[in-house]
Amino acid sequence: MTGNYQKAEGAGGAGGRPPAGDAALTTMTAAQMAKAVADGELSAVELAQAHLDRIELTDVAVRAFLHVAPEAALAAARKVDEERAAGKPLGPLAGVPLVLKDVFTTKDMPTTCGSKILAGWQPPYDSTITKRLRHAGIVILGKSNMDEFAMGSSTENSAFGPSRNPWDLKLIPGGSSGGSSAAVAAYQAPLGIGTDTGGSIRQPAAVCGLVGTKPTYGGNSRYGVVAFASSLDTPGPLARTVLDAALLHEVMSGHDPADSTSLDAPVPPVVAAARNADVAGLTIGVVSELSGEGYETGVLTRFNETVELLESLGAKVQEVSCPHFTYALPAYYLIAPSECSSNLARFDAMRYGLRIGDDGEASAEDVMSMTRAVGFGAEVKRRIMLGTYALSSGYYDAYYGKAQQVRTLIVRDFDQAFEQVDVLVSPTTPTTAFPIGERADDPMAMYLADLCTIPSDLAGNAAISVPCGVAPENGLPVGFQVMAPVLADDRLYRVAAAIETALDQRRGYPLLTQARGLDQIADVTEAGR
């Protein structure tokens, strides 16, 4: 039954132990799964069960999930199988399993945002994207771990403990969408959904060897996405292949009247672009400010090779200066905390979530204060305080106001750059995955992980991270970032598909098979038996 599908077995000399037996279903691409379901070669229930088994076997080591929903997943899968049997037309990803970041509301699963303050909260409504996934017949396996309220780059800020990088379980899987990246890299799900506020999709994709897209701001509905920073938060796909990411991108995108910042524009033709791996004639700008000191040698080596690769494929390459990108990080750390200080004010123990100190004597104010003191982690508190300060009267102009001016200048840098080039490129993140605990006590070092991704969040344009090999010195994946103008998301996929195709051909086996963490996962799970 599974004989025709490309599997990871026999991947030349890479040492990784891919899932064996029925679990091999989990190494298929989402596109292959959807086709197999549509053709009747594989049932959606079988697929869902294979992934649920894989999760049960491996998540003790990976810890990607905060909530696994076997019953809901199997019910959704059964519905797809029934619809197919009834001859109803299926969507392009019907029957394909997916893991949803725990920041999207789900009426049949808890939504915690990785925070103690929302532990056990069951929303009474589905986010728009949750609804679209269900409508498309996508099977939601469960909710993935994340840095608390999406604040972080490692999942170490989750109140429920960090997730592990399938390339090496001692390493962070990136963040804040690190649960989704870990799950997809560990073959627990072929597709994941994350949100990107400062790089929270692209950085985890980069350090886990995945494709991750931050679509144009407004291209994906934020309704039902628990807000971190409203003007930046952007839902997007994570996948093991460019085409899979594009397929999910297309399903989840589109105008939503319930989100006032949602763009009323057609979804860019991302799937067609992912199938058209041709960069001949495209002008590519290398951002000079996103390189140099602070970047690992291996990251720059693979990045530069990939730029040369694109040139060899017929793209025109030139260097482009975006002078204000240097100020993106400080501007971001004023704007995002300012918005978060207001967005997170609602967690006050009055209506839902954690309540501490309500002994019948304490005032409402005291209960709010105690609950927030206990319920929020250190990083969330740090950002609430930063934002509260930046918005205070007397400081507003110097901090929030100035940061907004910088934001405008960054938009202008992009506008001017895109007058010269079709896309901009840079490393996704300055380093490969770092060890759990290494930066946990050094917020500034942690913040630097988002140095290259933040400009596109501030400007609202589209960006993708696509794997460009492993760093020679440590064998860990390196992400290559492509940035495109607002609503030109399709260009991302054209470039990413070209890179993926060329590198896969050159390598001869899927990148993920080099993930030695998959051995560790097997070791941990065997030890656990």
Partner: protein, 503 residues
């Protein structure tokens, strides 16, 4: 410094030394079908927390979407107040923690209000005042807290609090005046007249039911005083939630008296929020502005800026109805009433009632009289507003008609009013059930007159001798015999006729 022991200065004395400056902030709940940022219906008196949804409850992940009708209503109000309408403006978040605020921030407007710089004319005792309008902006209402236990009904000292979020998210328009100087001893009356005029204006625009007692129109009153002739204004206080026309007048008055007392004693006015006490008519100290919150306003990132198209604004302008001031001029001319009559009608809040009574067919004079005299007295006795009386303008018009036709006399008409107010039905039903019609049957009347003459021959003789004034005594006898249901003029005529003194 404690000010509690300082005695207020009587108002006349206070205003002989000090010049008050007042300002008003009025909140108006708009009468839209749905709330400001979601599709939840706007309701009053529904089961607590039944008219809510994820958006107006501020549940995590929910997002606001602007109600276009609320924008239209706000522009309407702005235009009627002679304001400029912004071609581009934004909502802002006003951040503060309070249990009845679902998100712990209120979506409001800060430095970019929808309407700015207008005016409204009011008249007090023949003096015209042009009240400057600083701004008209749109925001969402909060939920309603009920503090149970404790002496004040406020959160401090309460045993526990209950919150009803039905009101949360109802569109709320805030209308802020510029400071109003130069009103001297008329300050309380001007404050009242402004709110009354504003209320009439909003009612004519049909954008709110403007019920002060239900809280759909709420006022904060700013008051300051300075020695007459002083180039500077005094420090102002803000008296919150003054919720009737009478209270507005009293709040300004008592605050002027209190501040004069403080200044006379060599004290200093503290800039603070004060609470109006309905029972005493005085204000008490709330929190001072020195410990006031920093609202950390910033542009609402969940909403895109508003840019009302000029054509749309002009369409709204063209659709404005006749405004109250113009209507009053027209009605006064049509009704032939004096300035004094019109003022009396407005003060009694009877203008619309009279207009509706006239529209139902009654002449203006009797309509004015009924509402200002008999019916005002009934409302006063019952302690309710005139409009709340259980009698409709159409019913009043019918009673007037019955009197005009001679089917009721004034005394009987008052009995009919009793019946209508008691819920006995329409005027005609009350007349029938209480058997109140004037006796017009001349044979019945003639019999009664003959009886009276027979019983009082000496009086009849006097009348026959030409002492016509004596007829009054016989009229009394007949009226008594007919239990007041006869028309006195007809009876008198009949008596004169029977006694041979008619011609």
């Amino acid at each position: 410094m404690t000010t509690t022991a300082i005695k207020p200065v009587p108002f006349d004395l206070a205003t002989s030394k000090y010049e008050p400056v007042i300002g008003l902030e009025t909140h108006v709940e708009l009468g839209t079908v749905t709330k400001m940022f979601c599709g939840t219906p706007v309701t009053f008196g529904a089961e607590p927390n039944s008219a809510v949804c994820p958006v107006c409850l501020g549940l995590p992940g929910s997002l606001p979407v602007i109600n276009k009708t609320a924008i239209e209503y706000t522009i309407k109000i702005g235009l009627a107040l002679n304001c400029s309408i912004a071609s581009w403006c934004r909502f802002a978040r006003k951040n503060y923690f309070y249990p009845d605020m679902p998100k712990n921030f209120q979506i409001s407007q800060y430095d970019e209000p929808l309407c700015t710089d207008g005016w409204l004319e009011v008249e007090v005792d023949g003096h015209e005042f042009t009240i400057g309008i600083e701004r008209v902006h749109l925001e969402e209402d909060t939920g309603k807290s009920m503090h149970v236990g404790g002496a004040t009904g406020r959160i401090h000292g309460a045993d526990y609090s209950l919150v009803d979020y039905n009101r949360a998210g109802i569109p709320l328009v805030e209308i802020v005046t510029k400071p109003i100087p130069g009103t001297a001893a008329l300050a309380p009356a001007v404050a009242r007249a402004y709110v009354a005029e504003l209320r009439d204006l909003l009612r004519s625009l049909d954008v709110s039911d403007v019920r002060m007692e239900q809280g759909s129109l709420r006022c904060d009153v700013n008051t300051s005083i300075a020695p007459i002739g002083s180039p500077d204004w005094g420090t102002r206080t803000e008296t919150k939630n003054v919720n009737s026309l009478r209270s507005i007048e009293r709040a300004v008055r008592s605050e002027v008296e209190r501040q004069a007392g403080v200044l006379d004693a060599g004290g200093r006015i503290v800039q603070e929020t004060r609470h109006f006490q309905e029972d005493t008519g005085a204000t008490t100290s709330g929190r001072s502005k020195e410990e006031a919150q920093d609202y950390r306003y910033f542009p609402e990132p969940d909403l895109v800026p508003m840019a009302p198209a000029r054509e749309w604004v002009e369409e709204i302008r063209a659709s404005l109805p006749e405004l109250p001031a113009a209507r009053r001029v027209r009605l006064q001319a049509q009704w032939g009433l004096s300035d004094l009559d019109m003022t009396a009608l407005r003060n009694a809040d009877a203008l619309d009632l009279v207009a509706e009574t006239v529209a139902a067919g009654a002449p203006a004079g009797p309509a004015r009289n009924w509402w200002l005299e008999e019916l005002s007295r009934r409302a006063n006795d019952a302690g309710i507003e005139l409009a709340a009386l259980a009698i409709s303008p159409a019913q009043v018009a019918r009673i007037i008609e019955l009197v005009e036709q001679g089917q009721l006399n004034n005394k009987l008409a008052r009995v009919v009013v009793d019946g209508v107010l008691a819920g006995e039905g329409s005027p005609d039903e009350v007349v029938a059930s209480r058997n109140l019609a004037v006796v017009t049957d001349t044979s019945v009347l003639a019999a009664a007159v003959d009886e009276a003459i027979a019983a009082n021959p000496d009086i009849a003789a006097k009348i026959a001798d030409g002492k016509i004034a004596a007829a009054g005594a016989l009229v009394g006898v007949v009226m008594k015999a007919t239990k007041g249901q006869a028309d006195a003029a007809s009876v008198r005529e009949l008596i004169l006729q029977r006694c041979g003194a008619g011609n």
